[in-house]
Amino acid sequence: MEPALELTGVGKTFGEVRALDAVDLTVRAGEVHCVLGENGAGKSTLCNLVFGSAALDEGEMRLYGAPYRPRRPAEALRLGVAMVHQHFSLVPELTVGENLLLAERARLRPPDLTGRVKAIEEEYGLAVDLAAPVAGLPVGERQSVEIVKCLLRDPRLLLLDEPTAVLGPAEVRALLATCRRVAETGRAVVLVTHKLGEVERAGDAATVLRGGKVAGSGPLAGFSRDELVRLMVGRELADLDPLLAAGLDATEAPAPRTPRETAGEPVARLRGLRLRSDHGPDVLDGVDLELRAGEIVGVAGVEGNGQSELVAVLSGALSADEGVFELDGVDLTRAAPAVRTAAGLGVIPEDRHHEGCVTGMSVAENLFLGRLREFRRFGLLDRKAMRAGAARAVAEHGIRASGPDAPLHTLSGGNQQKVVVARELALDPLRLLIAAQPTRGLDIGAVDAVLTRVRDAAARGAAVLVVSSELAELLTLCDRVMVAYRGRLLGPVAPDAPGARDEIGKLMLGAAT
């Protein structure tokens, strides 16, 4: 049988960046084909070429044997190719149902839609609320909508560009199960991911990209895990942080970090923080927490228990209804973001693409947006100094960009994240670092680097609050782990205590300590 998708000698250049170079890829019907590679390796570009969002410069594509060269997504969709993008692609102003109808405008009427969505719910266990406005949905549910939107079209080839990056563990499991189901019905799935654990759970074959070239490709049975890592980052698994082993397989408990003997003086205090909601119970229901210098505190929990809102309140994006947030004795509860920054508060927000950066501006401008004063000379901006500073940060953090002047939107998803992380870590003085899902969307080499930097920041005396849905990440990184449950923080749990994992699991379900 001919392959579902066949690429031969495909190349794509953006300006001076060679995003893909002589790429060969064969995806068979009935298989989940994983595409791996570092940030900026060309995974999204590959998907975009197949989906018709970008045009290939050279090479040839075949879809189920027929020559295939979509000039626009509409053409790809017509030929049975659907895609979930790395960044969300739903119209927030519309409801879920309207978003689903969009894709099916010509063929479906609302009553038929309900029937089709029901059928998909039964087959894949993906439930969506058609009447809900997209703007208010948590990320996990948005992702379900995106997938239902694809499945509605009954695609022959499903492209998923890092669909699991924004999901919690339970949602990831459900998504991987959906992938398997789609493949079992004889269709083909291309799954882009950074997590080897997911590859092993759902994949049949894999292709590793490195710098736009194919570093290795074939059935998964032919690769060991070490080999995949080597192909991806050019380093041995053993050289990487023990945490990474955890990221590769969430069931393996990594060696916990040895807690600091003496905790430093208190840096930040959260007292009775409360955030009301228009409907239902308070989103934050009296959060108390003390953070000490040099201490890394983690917040675990099932998505939607107030973690995101806690970060938003601390960063100033939301304003608390009650309670106090102090940093070095200064009340910042209602302070403007600039005041918070000046007080030494660094924030790596969860939705970096929307909240953390200005995609139309350059890498240098994004890095120094909040610190333009340092680059002022005779009242004008010293662009040269900015560029030099940016070039240093780009090199230090391994950000792959054509240069400091490259507009941020030309960077790959993971490299955009690195820019935000680099900016917040460069804060001086950094007294309190709040990191929400700091490793989301990063390749394993970059995860390693970010974790090292967070530890360094703590070692230099900053207090660190990490909110993450990766339990393993919290267990290795943190001195103590709190669990968010219905707007409150339960715990703490010491990561090195025996049974810490189970304890946290119980707290996540609201069991009393």
Binding site: F51, S53, A54, A55, R72, P73, A74, L77, R78, M83, H85, S89, L90, V91, P92, E93, L94, E98, L101, L102, A103, R105, A106, K149, T359, H409, T410
Partner: protein
């Protein structure tokens, strides 16, 4: 006629071109394209309509000329703002200046003896026009006037949120990239929307020249096109509020002339300003959240990703 009847009559007459022009502009803005050139296309339509009617002696032929001219002007605007992705505000304002100069000069060359042209005569609808006060004001319009109102209602219904068209247009205006990924023809729809503005604006201009004053004078539209754009803003990009804003603007303009008869002695400047004041109030959110389409004035090209 009582002063009040005169006010309503004048208000309706002035509101009709605003209604049809803003109905088209609303569709276009919901799709993400702002046409400051409504004013210029209206003026072009009025001029072409007057010239056509004058040359052939037939108002209908004049209307046809107006539509052709409006479509041509809109096609130019669409190429600039959709295909070439030029700044929509700059090209629109430039087009208005060009239209004003060209029609003023053209009128001087063409209308050497007298500027009156044959036009559409009012047709009183039986029974309805017998209703006291509002009857003659509403139901004694020309065929062109009725046509404009009909088209307005048609557009408002056709592009409401509940229809497939309306949904597609809303998505394209809110997030062009997502719409493209959903398989919608973003730039084709936007191009079509600008052409629609060409038709509605030309109709508005033709109404002014052929059904209202039956003549072409320099700068005949005198800012009515800008009012139509302001009405969309004041209506916060929703159909019925926009149409209500047009009616209000029409009445406010008519009040300039009728005020003395009511014994009101406001400075005219205040009345002239009132439509724009309303628009400012609407946009500044004093009356609820103002929600412009997120992608308004942002051109779309596939590989320049957001």
């Amino acid at each position: 006629m009582s002063a009040f009847a005169e006010l309503v009559d004048g208000g309706v007459r002035l509101a009709i071109p605003l209604l049809v022009a803003s109905a088209g502009e609303l569709v276009s803005e919901r799709a993400g394209v702002l046409n400051m050139s409504v004013e210029g296309i209206m003026l072009t339509g009025a001029f072409a309509g007057a010239v056509g009617a004058h040359t052939t002696g037939s108002a209908s032929a004049g209307l046809l000329c107006a539509l052709v001219a409006g479509l041509l002007a809109a096609a130019l605007q669409a190429v600039l703002s959709v295909t070439l992705r030029a700044d929509q505000i700059v090209t629109g304002v430039a087009a208005n200046a060009l239209a004003l100069g060209a029609t003023t000069y053209g009128a001087r060359l063409y209308f050497t003896e007298g500027r009156t042209v044959p036009g559409f005569d009012p047709v009183a609808l039986p029974l309805l026009s017998d209703i006291p006060v509002i009857g003659p004001a509403l139901f004694d319009q020309s065929v062109l006037g009725y046509g404009c109102v009909l088209l307005t209602v048609l557009l408002a219904v056709l592009f409401g949120r509940r229809t497939g068209f309306g949904l597609a247009v809303t998505a394209i205006g809110a997030d062009a990239e997502t719409a493209d990924r959903s398989g919608l023809p973003v730039n084709a729809v936007r191009f079509g929307a600008v052409l629609l503005v060409g038709v509605t604006s030309a109709l508005a201009g033709a109404h002014l020249a052929l059904a209202d004053v039956h003549a072409f004078t320099d700068n005949l539209t005198a800012g009515a096109g800008y009012l139509a754009v302001a009405a969309v803003i004041a209506g916060r990009w929703r159909a019925w509020p926009t149409l209500a804003a047009c009616a209000f603007f029409g009445l406010a303009q008519a009040l300039q002339f009728a005020a003395p008869a009511f014994g009101i002695h406001l400075p005219t400047a205040v009345l002239v300003m009132s439509p724009y004041l309303l628009a400012v109030v609407a946009v500044s959110g004093l009356v609820g959240a103002s929600r412009a389409p997120a992608g308004l004035t942002r051109p779309f090209a596939r590989e320049a990703r957001a």
